[in-house]
């Protein structure tokens, strides 16, 4: 028997809402949106955690410019370091940002381990940055955290829409909760909005192409002040809707 599965449940007991940021497609802005959304919710007064589950393509520590050379403190579990006001956990603390050539079974094991030892304690929101694909991380989240509320990200490219639509179909078929879709790098066409309508999910708004974003990586305060940050705050408010910090 794997005692870690029960461990996951216990560790997330006091986390009010869990929001995995998913797409199926890579490079659509999941990591930038995860990080900026976490910072936005913090700004609105909530207690926020951010978990980077994209083991092969971990990015949130780069966006946050978070130090990773020291191990998180141990105290009846692992305490996620507070970075820019949010509790942040990533495999990079342990892999020291070296390549992690993990196969599926290993990804699943690492994911379960991290969820079973991280002490989020009281949180209003846990934002989970997900890898592309429909693989282990997605299937494991569905399995171990059925109450996750998925936030879908797509760009207006037909290549993105084709892949994202499959993810949405899969989530809908399994009756999983979908908060809605955010269109990133909006570019004039309506492909994403039409897909949202076709799939009957909420269109939560668009983020335009923000030319300066790459130069702001590592400076989260500047990201928050950029057009990207401003647009994302609106998305954050829509997600929060009536909710108030406890």
């Amino acid at each position: 028997m794997d005692p870690r599965v029960k461990g996951i449940e216990l560790k997330l007991k006091n986390v009010r809402r869990i929001i995995p940021i998913v797409s199926g497609k890579g490079g659509v802005g999941k990591s930038l949106i995860s990080t900026t959304l976490a910072l936005s919710l913090k700004e609105l007064g909530f207690e926020v955690g951010l978990l980077d589950l994209d083991f092969h393509g971990a990015s949130d520590h780069v966006i946050l410019n978070s130090p990773i050379s020291e191990l998180p403190d141990e105290e009846k579990g692992v305490i996620p370091p507070v970075v820019h006001g949010i509790k942040f956990m990533s495999i990079v603390y342990y892999s020291t940002d070296k390549p992690t050539p993990l196969r599926g079974k290993e990804i699943s094991d690492a994911l379960i381990e991290i969820l079973a030892i991280t002490r989020w304690d009281q949180l209003d929101f846990l934002i989970i940055d997900m890898p592309p694909g429909l693989g282990e991380q997605l299937l494991d989240l569905i399995r171990f955290i059925p109450r996750g509320e998925f936030l879908i990200v797509s760009t207006p490219s037909p290549l993105s829409v084709n892949v994202v639509e499959k993810l949405v179909a899969l989530l809908k078929e399994g009756n999983h909760r979908i908060l809605g879709i955010v269109e990133n790098m909006h570019a004039g066409n309506n492909l994403t909005e039409e897909m949202a309508e076709r799939m009957r999910i909420k269109y939560l708004g668009e983020i335009g192409v923000c030319d300066e974003i790459d130069s702001l990586i590592g400076e989260p305060e500047s990201i928050m002040l950029s057009d990207f940050g401003k647009n994302l705050k609106k998305v954050a408010e829509r997600i929060v809707s009536g909710d108030r910090p406890r």
């Binding site: 461990g7 191990l71 495999i91 892999s95 020291t96 992690t100 050539p101």
Partner: protein
């Protein structure tokens, strides 16, 4: 002491299993400690002893078994053990692995062919091998 979190999982699992089987008490829990994760038995035992108080596991006997780590290369089939990778496994790296055993793939490779594509066949981490309820 992140062992506390592992202990919570173990006691939580045991109690749930007991309830599902309408047990009055948990008599015995056999816990395997994989060599790779290098969990200290005393620390884990201390946490378990604290956590089982006032539960149906309060009198449970705790038995620990060590499991040696075995690695097998998916490329060339070579099998090896921790001792053979001693040099690569500095204290810092051992600590990283203690928390997330899979990061061993960031640090080790097959001693024979150099491939990073290897499997931890045995001795990865902590699991419950056996439980006796009544």
């Amino acid at each position: 002491m992140h062992e506390w979190a592992l202990a919570e999982g173990i006691i939580g699992t045991a109690i749930e299993y007991g309830k599902e089987n309408n047990a009055n008490e948990i008599v015995k829990i056999v816990i395997v400690l994989g060599e790779l994760q290098d969990v200290e038995q005393e620390i884990l035992e201390f946490a378990l002893t604290q956590l089982k108080k006032d539960t149906i596991a309060k009198n449970a006997e705790l038995i620990f078994e060590e499991e040696r780590a075995v690695f097998r290369c998916r490329n060339c089939g070579y099998q090896w053990n921790m001792k053979q990778s001693e040099k690569e496994l500095t204290e810092d790296i051992r600590e990283d692995i203690h928390f997330v055993p899979e990061v061993v793939h960031s640090f080790l490779s097959c001693p024979k062919c150099g491939s990073r594509d290897f499997e931890v066949v045995k001795g990865r981490g902590v699991y419950i091998k056996e439980m006796v309820v009544r």
